[in-house]
């Protein structure tokens, strides 16, 4: 037996309550993210009808094009943060909470091992497992098992905490990371390790369920073992002032609930402010950790998805339809802004610029679904080389023919769809303007005649139905100035490596 006194040092108590805060924020914001595509799959094509779990009763039409915006669910703020189909807000809370959770977790690991407190979770011998089984039997007979000698826990508690701290928490972080397009693009083997993108998403969900079950049992155990005594240990460090500890426990829980309520109300009322403040932290972390990653994908042909879901509906303008029925011979791409040599190109000119660059890659929708497609087009860098951006150009703006006021009743906002990305992404490997998909011309529903592919980003950045590209030095004058239609209207983040 260790000589370390397995008590409740201050750092352990502080980390415990911070963990409660961050974990509950993660759970609610995770449910918000799930609500925008409330279906889970074991296959990367996310083929309609093949989901193993669905949390929606919506039925989609078969005689009309529907898109994944139509499939979004409106969950209550009681279970999701902030609720009401606010994916942009849910993502901000999820990512800020995960940063906090990882920092708390790292400090916890560090101090556990530095102080010898790790013994409280590590089984001394195989006998602990046998004792844990006996403890389960004891609990099932509505009795409390004995604590391990000189330890604050019984055997099953010890093993459960070990499983949660050393297995479940890292599992959630790793399966979450496996859903980052930048990580998937740079390390395709990592996502394959989990069985694919949708397996990682499904496992991440099962991890959420495991945490919910753990929390329910944990709170029940605290109740049955003695709410006041155990909370005294977790608040004061020892069993004293039990009545006051009970009061304090409810004050702490009340404070955590108050933070949730405040986060929910703030997100529903002032989403742009939430986006700005949380985004300042998240974006910095994302650009440091994920922006350097380059796409190195080349999936085998046999893995191509038969179907590729649609997000965003084709432009309903007569002009677009007339161009489409004439094979887009009258379509032109204007490239200008802060460039030395503006250009206007038709499809033939774009095709003539270079041999098509093809890539078989995993597509990640911000909602969580995916598919594997083969795209062909020209590197965006070639177009940039043609027009020669001026030194002051920092961003690229893609203007599309889609008007969400007219084309997308399910969208929460209106006006022309556009997206802005940082200039450096133009020069990333596998950043192309695609005019072919899966061996055929780019379909109308997927952005014909030309769409963007930036494989380290989430799907909504890859503007479809493009007709104009502008090199700019400031994005604040476009739309509402947040870097894209989704950013302006539904408060998505502009830089979306995850």
């Amino acid at each position: 037996m260790t000589e370390t006194v397995l008590d409740y040092p201050a750092w352990l108590r502080i980390d415990h309550w911070l963990n409660v805060l961050f974990l509950t924020l993660l759970l609610r914001s995770g449910i918000e993210i799930l609500s925008t595509h409330p279906k889970l799959y074991w296959h990367d094509d996310s083929k309609p009808g093949t989901e193993w779990a669905r949390f929606t009763t919506k039925k989609m039409p078969t005689d009309r094009l529907y898109d994944t915006l139509d499939e979004e669910e409106d969950y209550s703020p009681l279970i999701s943060l902030p609720g009401h189909k606010k994916l942009g807000m849910g993502r901000h809370w999820h990512f800020i909470a995960v940063i906090g959770w990882i920092l708390v977790g790292l400090s916890y690991y560090l101090l556990l091992f530095a102080t010898g407190q790790w013994h409280r979770y590590w089984p001394q011998s195989w006998a602990t497992f046998a004792e844990a089984w006996n403890d389960i039997i004891t609990y099932m007979t509505f009795n409390l098992p004995p604590l391990l000698p000189n330890e604050p826990l019984d055997a099953i508690q010890k093993l459960t905490y070990a499983g949660v701290i050393f297995l479940l928490a890292p599992f959630q972080i790793l399966t979450g990371a496996a859903q980052s397009p930048a990580i998937e693009a740079r390390f395709p083997w990592f996502v394959r390790l989990w069985g694919g993108r949708q397996c990682a998403r499904s496992l991440h969900f099962l991890g959420l369920v495991a945490f919910l079950i753990f929390i329910a049992i944990h709170v029940s155990m605290v109740f049955f073992w003695g709410w006041g005594q155990l909370n005294a240990s977790m608040i004061f460090g020892s069993v004293r002032n039990v009545a006051w500890a009970t009061v304090c426990s409810f004050l702490i829980i009340g404070a955590i609930v108050a933070i949730h309520v405040a986060a929910t109300v703030w997100s529903l009322r002032r989403p742009a402010q939430v986006r700005r403040i949380l985004g300042a932290v998240i974006t910095r972390a994302r650009l440091i950790l994920l922006r350097p990653l380059d796409s190195r994908q080349n999936y085998p042909e046999r893995m191509l998805s038969d179907e590729h879901r649609v997000n965003g509906k084709p432009p309903c303008s007569t002009r677009y339809k007339v161009m489409a029925v004439h094979n887009f011979v009258d379509w032109r791409l204007r490239v200008g802004g802060l460039v030395e040599q503006p250009a206007t190109l038709d499809l033939a000119a774009i095709r003539a610029m270079a041999e098509p660059e093809g890539q078989r890659v995993l597509h990640n929708c911000v909602q969580g679904w995916s598919s594997i497609g083969e795209w062909k087009g020209i590197p965006l860098a070639l177009v940039a080389d043609l027009v020669r951006p001026l030194p002051q150009a920092r961003f690229v703006c893609f203007l599309t023919m889609q008007d969400n006021s007219r084309d997308e009743p399910s969208s929460q906002g209106e006006g022309q769809f556009y997206e802005v990305m940082d200039l450096e992404l133009v020069y990333k490997p596998q950043t192309i303007l695609a005019y072919e998909m899966n061996g055929n011309l780019l379909p109308i529903k997927h952005g014909a005649p030309l769409r963007l592919r930036v494989e380290t980003q989430v799907g909504f950045k890859m503007a479809k139905w493009i007709y104009q590209i502008e090199f700019i030095d400031d994005l604040r004058g476009i739309g509402y100035g947040l870097g894209g239609w989704r950013e302006d209207n539904i408060h998505y983040d502009k830089d979306v490596e995850i």
Partner: protein
């Protein structure tokens, strides 16, 4: 696939949503243009070449479920904007060969 309007004359592929009309269907489209008094918005010309058809009913929210657009190319060589189109319901132009036996449905389904 034929390309009566010359859209694929440069060797470019014809997009998968488009399909060629047989002569009977093209004739019916011309009849519809004449019946509706159709003319080129750019130059006023009334003669058109008939091109491909595009099933609109599935892809575009604002269209009836049986709507198609047929490509029309103005025959006036001086016309500044020769390419246009006409929206027609299936029953008004698709020939029996394409429609009557239900064979248009596979055409539609292919483009979903």
């Amino acid at each position: 696939m034929s390309d009566p309007a010359g859209n694929a004359a440069d060797g470019a592929m014809v997009r998968p949503e488009l399909f060629a009309l047989d002569s009977a269907s093209r004739e019916r489209v011309l009849e519809q243009i004449a019946a509706k008094g159709g003319y080129c918005e750019s130059c006023g010309e009334k003669d058109f070449d008939i091109g491909h058809a595009l099933f609109l009913g599935f892809l575009f929210l604002d269209e009836d479920s049986d709507a198609y657009m047929v490509a029309l190319t103005c025959r006036n060589p001086e016309c500044a904007k020769p390419r246009t189109g006409i929206v027609l319901p299936e029953k008004d132009f698709l020939s029996a060969a394409l429609c009557g036996d239900g064979s248009a449905w596979p055409l539609r389904a292919r483009h979903r």
